[in-house]
């Protein structure tokens, strides 16, 4: 089974029908294990119980960037290989990525309240995630502003790739701006020095969230394929109605209602 085989939407639908229940099951089990481990993790000596927000916050933040990566690969698929499912994948991923980014922002802000004493700090990480969120919303706006999906797909693909180049630049600029304007008074998690008691639940949660993304993404892709089928069926029907009423021109006044009823 290669990627080219999946170019056939019917085959893709058949495959996902088989694997989606397993994926959903695995996600549930891993999430349960991860949440249990997170709940059992010891309190931090400095932050107390609020450190547990990390187990939700960090996977969301990782996925917010990972999803843009997925969309960039899909964008290449649209522009370079013309894979028929690439734009479906890109379109389905955008709202999910925006949701993960939003959750990362909300949990970060809830974590910031007890730590920094404020819901919003113009901290470099929070700020760059906020900009990422704005870019997701812009991308969704672009998807929604055009009716024809294939036309919107190519524009969105270009914007996704431009974003993929620009996001590291923006991240770097915001870091620089932040160190310029703020003395480093913000509490920082020591990334690599994280204790094993925190590291394991975090890794399990990250895996669980990745599986959650794959499950949601495949389900959203199925929905999008079905939505497009419905749309083309509706358009076929509409054109049939228009055609039959044109054929019956001349006696349009009397028969129009009959013909629409017949079609």
């Amino acid at each position: 089974m290669t990627l080219t085989d999946l170019a056939n939407p019917t085959r893709f639908l058949a495959l996902t029908t088989r694997i989606l229940p397993w994926l959903a099951g695995a996600t549930t089990v891993l999430l349960a294990i991860g949440l249990y481990q997170s709940a059992m993790a010891p309190d931090d000596y400095q932050q107390g119980a609020t450190v547990k927000i990390m187990f939700i916050h960090v996977p969301n933040a990782w996925l917010s960037m990972f999803v843009w990566g997925v969309m960039s690969v899909a964008a290449l698929g649209t522009l370079v290989w013309r894979h028929p499912l690439a734009d479906v994948a890109a379109k389905a991923a955008a709202p999910i990525g925006a949701a993960f980014t939003f959750l990362a922002l909300v949990t970060g802000s809830l974590w910031g309240r007890p730590m920094w004493g404020t819901y919003w700090e113009w901290d470099a990480r929070l700020t760059s995630v906020l900009i990422l969120f704005l870019m997701y919303l812009g991308l969704i706006a672009l998807w929604r502003s055009v009716e024809d999906p294939s036309r919107a797909a190519r524009a969105a693909a270009i914007l996704t790739l431009v974003g993929a180049i620009n996001i590291p630049i923006i991240k770097f600029s915001v870091d620089w701006w932040n160190t310029l304007h703020q003395p480093a008074s913000v509490f920082r998690m020591g990334g690599p020095t994280l204790d094993k008691a925190f590291l394991w639940p975090l890794l399990v949660m990250a895996l669980a969230f990745s599986l959650l993304f794959i499950t949601l993404h495949l389900a959203a892709m199925r929905n999008e394929i079905l939505r497009r089928r419905v749309r083309s069926l509706q358009m076929m029907q509409a054109s049939r109605v228009a055609f039959s009423s044109e054929v019956g021109a001349g006696s349009r006044d009397g028969h129009a209602s009959n013909e629409i009823g017949a079609a």
């Binding site: 812009g138 600029s173 701006w177």
Partner: protein, 222 residues
């Protein structure tokens, strides 16, 4: 080469002509700058502290306002299709159009900066610093904005969509532009560091902008 020169000359002349609308950006820049004291109060010390930021924001918004015109008029009268189909590489044609747009709409903003600096109580050196950073930074705004303009023209949607797409991409330029101006005025940072990065951002946009805009025109127009 002569085709590109002709394209630049044509675009500049159209933009400066009656109905071209390039100079309305300067008027907008002036109006935004005049509005600012009404929002923050007529405190001259505060205004001179905020001055570079106000001028940069005004220039950013003014260049965004005129971006809409980069492809729309050509799309409406069909000359954009001719440019796309011509033998000149579309990437170069896009770069030429962006350059022409910057000459007609970006350069006047920089020329207007000294007058606006007076309104904001900036001294000569500070005004010069802001004008210099605008000179280095506004090309980046035009060239990244061109991507949004190309996307918007293929979608037949201008205005708000363009702003939503382009503004997040212009954050680095804003950060380093204001930082370089502030560094030149009050320190403590050296002017060179942010200014070099600002120039680098412009150079990057010269590469990315034309390619992305050309790709979007090629895929989007049909």
């Amino acid at each position: 080469m002569s085709a590109l020169a002709a394209l630049i000359r044509r675009d500049v002349r159209i933009a400066l002509r009656v109905g071209g609308g390039a100079l309305i950006g300067v008027l907008f820049f002036l109006t935004v700058t005049v509005l600012m004291p009404f929002a923050v109060g007529p405190d001259l010390a505060l205004l001179s502290r905020l001055g570079p930021a106000i001028l940069w924001l005004g220039a950013l918004l003014a260049s965004l306002l005129t971006l809409d015109r980069l492809f729309t008029a050509d799309h409406e009268d069909g000359s954009l299709d001719l440019i796309v189909m011509s033998r000149t590489p579309l990437e170069l044609a896009c770069a030429a159009k962006a350059l022409a747009h910057w000459l007609a709409a970006g350069l006047p903003l920089i020329i207007a900066t000294p007058a606006l600096g007076l309104l904001l109580n900036l001294d000569g050196a500070a005004t010069f610093a802001v004008a210099l950073t605008l000179l280095a930074g506004t090309p980046a705004l035009t060239f990244t904005g061109m991507i949004g303009a190309a996307l918007a023209v293929t979608m037949h949607r201008g205005g708000l969509l363009l702003a939503v797409l382009v503004l997040p991409l212009s954050i680095p330029v804003l950060i380093f532009g204001v930082a370089a101006s502030q560094a030149a005025i009050s320190g403590p940072l050296s002017f060179g560091t942010p200014f070099s990065i600002l120039c680098a951002l412009s150079l990057i946009s010269f590469v990315i902008g034309p390619f992305a805009a050309a790709a979007s025109l090629r895929h989007g127009l049909d």
